[in-house]
Symmetry: C2
Subunit: 324 residues, 2 copies
């Protein structure tokens, strides 16, 4: 089945973020024209090429209200990736995820519907499952009990995407991400650990007791997986987990980051199995469904951690002392 508008541009909200900008690179390389919409709260202009044929960049805060119609006019598809990127912020201030998650999704979808955009691709999250009683957790798992406001906003946006798809004849893709990592990210466990060691090279404080264990996926695998699914299936609503098949403990990550810094820092663990309010300490997505489409990630969870630590160390000019 051909796209209704194969030649129309692609809109990417959150396109200046770590995942979004990687997707934009791929879409431009595939010859698509791309309109990036970002509020530049966590996204950065430096993630995007200065000037490139087919790329336009639009500053717009989607949580504040409906975006301008011209951003969506004639678009062949919308990738809605914009969101609050920091899960921990939401439990301290629930309005953050309401605004940058739920309201941003609503305003974006509503304008896309008015402009008759026929395809919608949404970055959801493993956090919609909460602390699942089944690991690895398949897409069919229920009931969904998100623990964080972030996860709640993702679940609400999934509902909106589904309702818009079914009500208005849009083809929709919902991707439930594991923890996505790369060296460009300015949040998340690896970024936090590197920042802490920069502030105090002798001591790494860890949130929680280190027993948390989750699956990590590289941004390039995340984007590759989404593009593969988007090319492969075309139900009204297509829900796919994207993650690695193994997982990595916080303890292992802490030890790897300390080793990358020369191995001298003391690791100080906190109390309890959760890193913060709303944290889901045990996460592993079943990826049988996407594997059934012939795709698998290029890196294991531990491989993704190692690759990202190497990138971060390299960017920051950190050379570990030779090990004894």
């Amino acid at each position: 089945m051909p796209d209704r508008r194969p030649e129309g541009p692609t809109v990417v909200t959150g396109g200046a973020g770590a995942i979004g900008s990687f997707l934009v690179d791929r879409l431009l390389s595939d010859g698509r024209s791309v309109r990036v919409v970002d509020n530049f709260s966590t996204g950065q202009r430096s993630n995007l090429p200065e000037a490139r044929a087919g790329l336009s960049v639009h500053a717009c805060d989607l949580g504040a209200g409906e975006p301008p119609a011209e951003l969506f006019r004639g678009a062949a598809e919308l990738w809605h990736l914009a969101a609050n990127a920091d899960i921990r912020r939401g439990s301290a201030d629930p309005a953050v995820d309401l605004r940058n998650g739920s309201l941003a999704a609503f305003h974006t979808l509503e304008q896309a519907r008015r402009q008759d955009v026929p395809r919608l691709l949404f970055s959801s999250s493993s956090t919609v499952y909460g602390l699942a009683s089944v690991l690895p957790t398949p897409e069919s798992y229920g009931p969904l009990e998100p623990e964080s406001l972030y996860g709640a906003a993702k679940l609400g946006a999934e509902g909106l995407v589904s309702a818009y798809a079914h009500s208005y004849g849009i083809t929709a893709y919902i991707f439930r991400f594991a923890n996505i990592i790369d060296g460009r990210m300015n949040h998340g466990i690896l970024h936090d650990f590197f920042e802490k060691l920069r502030a105090d090279p002798g001591r790494l404080e860890v949130l929680g007791d280190g027993s948390q264990s989750k699956s990590y996926l590289r941004t390039e695998d995340c984007v590759g997986g989404m593009l593969h699914v988007a090319r492969s299936v075309r139900a009204p609503v297509n829900v796919y987990n994207l993650g690695a098949e193994d997982r990595t403990s916080v303890r292992a990550i802490a030890e790897k980051v300390v080793a990358a810094h020369g191995g001298r820092a003391a690791i100080v663990y906190g109390q309890g199995p959760r890193g913060w309010v709303g944290d889901v300490p045990q996460q592993l997505l079943a990826i049988d469904k996407v594997r059934g489409l012939g795709w698998r990630p290029s890196a294991t969870s531990t491989g993704a951690i190692d690759r990202t630590i190497a990138e971060l160390a390299d960017r920051r000019g950190i050379t570990p002392a030779p090990r004894a």
Copy 2:
């Protein structure tokens, strides 16, 4: 396990609606003091007793912003039933369910959290399932693909309820309702059919081809089921379907309503299996989970329809002509 504040009042949002006012009656009869919060858009003051010890009524539009703190102060529990009651409105104007569903839920939960209300009971809906591939549909069914904006708002609110429960130590109940009916309702299929026959006694126009088949539950059974569950279980988040074990087709309902009016009206069916955009034409909830707690509805779906038609006919003074 005793309630933390067994003597505190109960807050019921949407307490002037058909379901809410029935719940309020039951709570008052059980000796609770009750604060009703309603914007009186579909709820009606006449559903509530004029003056009754323990009852206070507060006009407040929860979609507009956070409700006053004093409404929630000292409360032992919050029943959040307020919502847009007309599913069809949402596909014509998606902002209705955003405001009266998602935003109302957020503002209500947020104030309840600030006032440390320890128990939260939420009226969700079978519409969160969408057109499920498994009938009867159990609570564990996934992925959830709501078809209507109403269902999307309910799913989003479920996510919020879950996140608030897990993040802030609140005990939460999520009830997924079948189609709840009684003679006091001012919306829904029976009300619509009676209104149409009042306008034109010779002709009943039906949305869709009449093949839609859903499960109907009486308001008293809905409220009884919720109270039973709330007394019986106390997990952090408790998700329960509430419905009948059979279902009733739109064709059968149309014929029953016409018969109650004397059987003279011609029934004119529309096209297609759906009544409207966002309609879920086939619905049947599995109620094994609530039956496992020792509860079952007092009426079948067809019995609920018959009882409600008799009530509506009685209220409107309709006496069917003797059948030949």
